[in-house]
Symmetry: C2
Subunit: 224 residues, 2 copies
């Protein structure tokens, strides 16, 4: 089974700069409202469109005329379009998620998308959020190996690696093969000790014990 | 006693659009490294500069030549420049903080600044983060009244009000005088139920019980 790709309406990510990311045969692509514009512009397959078309340049009629399956939702609802897309992907059995254009737009939407990572984890699934210069995932009682390619995907300079406790504390945080290693450390939400680390080898290894840990790669973009 | 203003190096905020914000006689302004550029460009008083001058256009020598008090820090340290500025403000007795240009730059710095709000709360202090289009604070066992002026400060359209659990759960969340009220609700980090609310009166009232609650006002900017 492939992964579920949710295309959000945040700052457009650069598909050619997403290390290791591609849309394959078995993948299921859901556009969360305004994300449809990005998907159409970049030639992504579209398997489902979710939303009330309040943030897309495309109207519901146009989407239907294009033959796109539309999951209609009322404009006043408890779920954000992204959360609804995530739930629909889970219902279809997907356990691996990639949320494109999920960061860097409105800060409230960015934080809501961090919630989506925690929601996925609670459902036994996992996900990555991709922004223009950022990649974010969430760990709980597990180890993640981050190969060097992930640090070099989105720009000229290597990404900085940052980890944040997402629950009040995350115990057993271990960072290996990085400039500032940590060993079985209890990271809290009250102190950003895990900011701005650097790769120091072929791959970095991040372990989270009890609690949840956000893992973030951020590259500085050279803008002319 | 006035407040402590920490000028950070994120996306520049618009001083003329910060509702109710001004730098008064009793205020103490600390520039966190690159924040010095913003403070000098906008004629803010500078009472202390913190950092290793790795992100400021100004060199340490220039800062000293301008007669600015510089708190020197090593470039490899556990504190971010902003956290160090916050600690120095607390040491001087300030309990009310405003962090300017604290959002909208690198996402890791933005999240680290959310940690700073939680750190302040743990020290019996409180703070607001200001970005170009965002204002964020953190509540714990308290009620905040948000007058309409705060919703209209930074742009043409009224701000959206969002609340997020910052601890795993925040109990007793009550939202009054808003379009989608909540009464004594337990908000969790796994579901962004508190996104995109709207003012529905002269002021909105937000109450957080046990746990911590991020309160965020975000305006959509009309860019031409």
């Amino acid at each position: 089974m492939g992964k579920c790709v949710v295309v959000c309406a945040g700052e457009p990510c650069r598909l050619d700069k997403l290390p290791g990311f591609s849309v394959g045969e078995g993948d299921f692509v859901i556009c969360a409202d305004g994300g449809l514009d990005f998907a159409l512009a970049h030639g992504l397959p579209v398997h489902l469109v979710v939303g009330d078309f309040d943030s897309s340049a495309c109207t519901q009629g146009q989407a239907k005329a294009l033959g796109l399956p539309v999951y209609e939702v009322p404009s006043e609802k408890d779920d954000t379009d992204t959360m609804l897309a995530v739930k629909l992907g889970l219902e279809r059995g997907y356990r691996e998620f990639a949320l494109l254009c999920a960061l860097g737009g409105r800060l409230d939407h960015t934080l809501a998308n961090l919630c989506a990572l925690a929601y996925l984890k609670g459902q036994g699934a996992s996900g990555w959020l991709y922004g223009r210069n950022e990649q974010v995932t969430l760990l709980e009682n597990e180890t993640l190996e981050l190969p060097a390619a992930r640090f070099y995907g989105q720009g000229d300079t290597p990404a900085m690696l940052s980890v944040f406790a997402y629950t009040e504390a995350c115990r057993g945080v271990t960072l290996e093969k990085v400039k500032y290693p940590l060993q079985n450390y209890t990271l809290t939400q009250r102190f950003p000790l895990g900011v701005s680390n650097e790769l120091a080898g072929e791959s970095a290894r991040v372990t989270a014990g009890q609690g949840q840990l956000l893992v973030m790669l951020v590259q500085e973009e050279k803008r002319n």
